[in-house]
Symmetry: C3
Subunit: 276 residues, 3 copies
Amino acid sequence: MPSGQTVTFLSDYGSTDEFAGVVRSVLRRLSPQAVVIDLCHDVPAHDVRAGAFMLARSAPWLAPGVVLAVVDPGVGGPRRGVALEVADERGLVLIGPDNGLLMLAVASLGGVRQAVELVRPPAPTQATFGSPGPTFDGRDLFAPAAARLCGGAPLTELGPRVDPGTLVRGPVLAIRREGAQVVAEVVGSDRFGNLQLAARAADVAHLGSSVVVEAGGARGRLARRVEAFGELAPGELGVLIDSSGLVALVLDRQSAARALGAGPGAPVRLGPGAGT
Amino acid sequence: MPSGQTVTFLSDYGSTDEFAGVVRSVLRRLSPQAVVIDLCHDVPAHDVRAGAFMLARSAPWLAPGVVLAVVDPGVGGPRRGVALEVADERGLVLIGPDNGLLMLAVASLGGVRQAVELVRPPAPTQATFGSPGPTFDGRDLFAPAAARLCGGAPLTELGPRVDPGTLVRGPVLAIRREGAQVVAEVVGSDRFGNLQLAARAADVAHLGSSVVVEAGGARGRLARRVEAFGELAPGELGVLIDSSGLVALVLDRQSAARALGAGPGAPVRLGPGAGT
Amino acid sequence: MPSGQTVTFLSDYGSTDEFAGVVRSVLRRLSPQAVVIDLCHDVPAHDVRAGAFMLARSAPWLAPGVVLAVVDPGVGGPRRGVALEVADERGLVLIGPDNGLLMLAVASLGGVRQAVELVRPPAPTQATFGSPGPTFDGRDLFAPAAARLCGGAPLTELGPRVDPGTLVRGPVLAIRREGAQVVAEVVGSDRFGNLQLAARAADVAHLGSSVVVEAGGARGRLARRVEAFGELAPGELGVLIDSSGLVALVLDRQSAARALGAGPGAPVRLGPGAGT
């Protein structure tokens, strides 16, 4: 590929510290021909579940190459670092901690074809202020592994093979049916306040064009099935299939999260509307 | 150009979601030789006016290539997607929704030379969780169009020509004169709390070196014309021509926005100071 | 180098304005073969000290090339712009204001080999709304200098030589010993609430595995020396050597900054624990 390898980079490092920048620097230094595509660095701190969903939602659009994902509260402890080659035709390899973060995306990409446990390179012996501690595996373990793959190393050079069956499982879409009603967890709330639910289009198809929504302890609120935000009147609640293929609760140019008082992890109950 | 095409990318996608990252991934995948320059992704949500001013302020410094701008509350509705080639010698093409977002920059770049309406490519039929809805045109419409231009396609391959006179108008500098006084709207407030006004240097030239500022309902406050922040005493209000050529109200190392209780859209009245 | 020069870019421009994006655009335009690595743009506004420590922490991992650092409350005033070549084998050149921002990193990189004062290029005469003021040296002074170095210009073409002894000094690690106790300033607080102290491993070696921590006006709180977050019980305070080699106060998956009510600049007292 003339323009070099791609490393797609997701983390919970945030923007106020140099963590993501240092990882980018390590990649640039070890693999100058690689291009880093920042997917997102504001996964809520330590929130493996949110990171797993974000990676899964993004999976169909990722460029071929390496995916470097770090949401890693167990850093420095016994959890493994892994590299997972998936069956998808793009030949993506996902690198990160073995804590479930990668697995929802892996499942959407055809599952694991080959997995290895990352062998730790020699620790940096001297940082600016002395010998650094083992709390920055993005810099010290994961980025060097990504750079080696970009440089042409085969997966099996990164470490010993791992039985995919031993990998920590990822999160699931938490949804259940109660009669005609559907109870689905809020997967996430985006910048615009749209509430993404753990429900697919098929899960709500029986509800018709009018839906009663119970969330955040409030009484049922009537919502309308729409395709786009602009179909809604001011303040009217909408139910639409969002850009990831999941059911979302939305308002036009307002925050459904604020209007409903609901956020990630909260259960939302959807039932058939009166006029259905 | 040996280092590939440039796509300058502005949006209101924010940093907490994967939206900007997915658009970068699509560009990388469809046009691996292109380089994405992130201009800003924290335009206030849905704020077409703020995005239009930001793009206009940035216009003189943009690298040749494609500008991809997405502040698009009407996504999924009838508003058009457009690509506008401007008369500027850099041959920039601006891509985004036809909602006024691009027009202030276009005007500063010599106006439209050629405009087309983007023809929608086939919708993605399968995302991770099912068939996605039409609410992410950055990913599904605008980025693919930008990639085609980077790949060498002429503008007219993206869709049918549009009469530039039919494009939605952009925002204007809201300013009026009342005797010796000038009433100008706050265009924006930056990270440092500097208040940018809808006034050019010529609009305040008659006011001299001492200016009375009325904003946020408070009584007139005396301000001094300066060239740099450091000329001001602690707490002293300053009036300077900022890096975009607009009049700004500033303090040294403090927030004028907070001190005056004013923000975007608020009217500010400037009059000649007592000693002038 | 086939993949072009690297410009590592740090600033306090934040993410809500176009400032960092415009600097990236200028670099792309003037030096299309250069690659920009964003280190961080959310240094607290005007906080030269915080930026200096961030740059110093990052220094060992930076890619060869130019470092462009802008935290510059004195912009437009008499402070100099400088380019400093350091003795480090990577041949890094650091560009920024002469206000101490660069000096802690410079010291960690072997000191200054050669320094020049940047000569200001002709000011931009026409921005979108008129002739711009002198308040954006990242765009008008520092980025053009970085681009010239990327294009192969020798350091001395950027301006006259400067005696390194005249450069404004950088911040220092503020720490003192009182008997068996150590009083160290908080250098910074990261996204996860970890409090980095102005103390190295050797400064706390005598304290043993149990440490009494006084911070934020509260009574002494017992903390335990650990190597990783996961060794701590919920709510237990830990002392570890962090990824920069400095002493940090941490909790497992919680914010030590919030728990202790302490932030940058606050003094923290560390003493031997009861059981030591």
